[in-house]
Symmetry: C2
Subunit: 246 residues, 2 copies
Amino acid sequence: MQHYFLNQSIKVGQLISIPTEVKKHWIKVMRASDGTKAEFVDDHERVFIGELVQSSTTASIKVLCEKAFNAELPFSVTIVCGVSKNDKADWIVRKATEMGVDRVIFFASEWSIAKWPLNRVQKKLSRLNTIALSAAEQSHRNRVPLVDYQPKLESIIAADYSQKIVAYEESAKAGEESMLHHCINQMHLGDSLVAVFGPEGGIAPSEIALLESYGFKKAGLGPRILRTETAPLYLLAAISAFSELS
Amino acid sequence: MQHYFLNQSIKVGQLISIPTEVKKHWIKVMRASDGTKAEFVDDHERVFIGELVQSSTTASIKVLCEKAFNAELPFSVTIVCGVSKNDKADWIVRKATEMGVDRVIFFASEWSIAKWPLNRVQKKLSRLNTIALSAAEQSHRNRVPLVDYQPKLESIIAADYSQKIVAYEESAKAGEESMLHHCINQMHLGDSLVAVFGPEGGIAPSEIALLESYGFKKAGLGPRILRTETAPLYLLAAISAFSELS
């Protein structure tokens, strides 16, 4: 069944005019016809089942029932990633959305080879937020993650989070293997976790020092060296495993 | 430091003639010069530090010391994936290698839209095994995973494994969330786990029945719908988290 986000309140029994983007995908691409059902998420992350009702001039959703369903992680996870090369940002956003991320923030890290010129940031973010929407639909999330960019790491990490970690290859090499589990064990429903990841070249010692001064803990993600785009996925899957599977 | 697999025994103090492929990458691409150090893995998964020794006519590795290092998961994980579209096989092999997989077997599943024509299987496998080698070097593994293809699911699943699971979306939808953790908890050092994943269209009921007749357990991988190429990575990260991080 298709799954769409409507940025509005939804009530059972309501007849809703279909937003243009949803209409384009559901009717034109997926060839929905009269009576085809889909899931629709309201602006409070609630999921409803609706069916297509068409007349000669209009296409509407008839809301049939609410579906009690929560696909969100028990706590909010923000990943903060150094800008990386090629289409890795697309990939990180798509896969992290599937894995349950709440927010993705890219930053211009000291060792980033790639740069985001200021005059192209808005266009890049618009594209990445569209990818997040599409991935959230496909993975049947209750929420669309927000993708953002901040040139300065300090302005991101000064925000308030319950747990703060930095994925640090040197810690992993030194055998650090308990910090992530420890942090997750201390979290409760509705808490927030932020995790910082370097770009291809890694995270600079001065950035590590800055993060530590803000209370970030260095965490290893297992003994294998993970690429910059793989590490956030490992983290999200580990968080899901510890909090949703055990 | 670069990391290369030499398919031979290695002893400290030995002078080894550099294999062509290693020479091409280490000297031509990475521009190693006299005295540059790298890691070399022998045919028993042991890691050594060696340095480049060049004369006007030869290039050799002088083996300096052994590095006690194990980047392998505590047990062997085989993933069995329905053939999927586009370059997803490349992607699965690359990322699963980073995440510690031991063996990847593709099979012609009932609902696979993509097919591997028999006359192209060898070429595809050769390419995928090269990807596995390259990813194993980059993630500093002790072992290069083996990539294989079997047209029939039954010939794969009849083999002996300590734990056998099938990632089943319907189980996840029904709220199954304990099986994976349960299976991993029962495993000991050196045991083996096999996990089967369907292609884009999912796994057919007849395949589920066959798997169950061979003792496979249906496991959910969290409440979000994962794409066919994401699910094996979730599994591997969860196995690492449960066995290497806690």
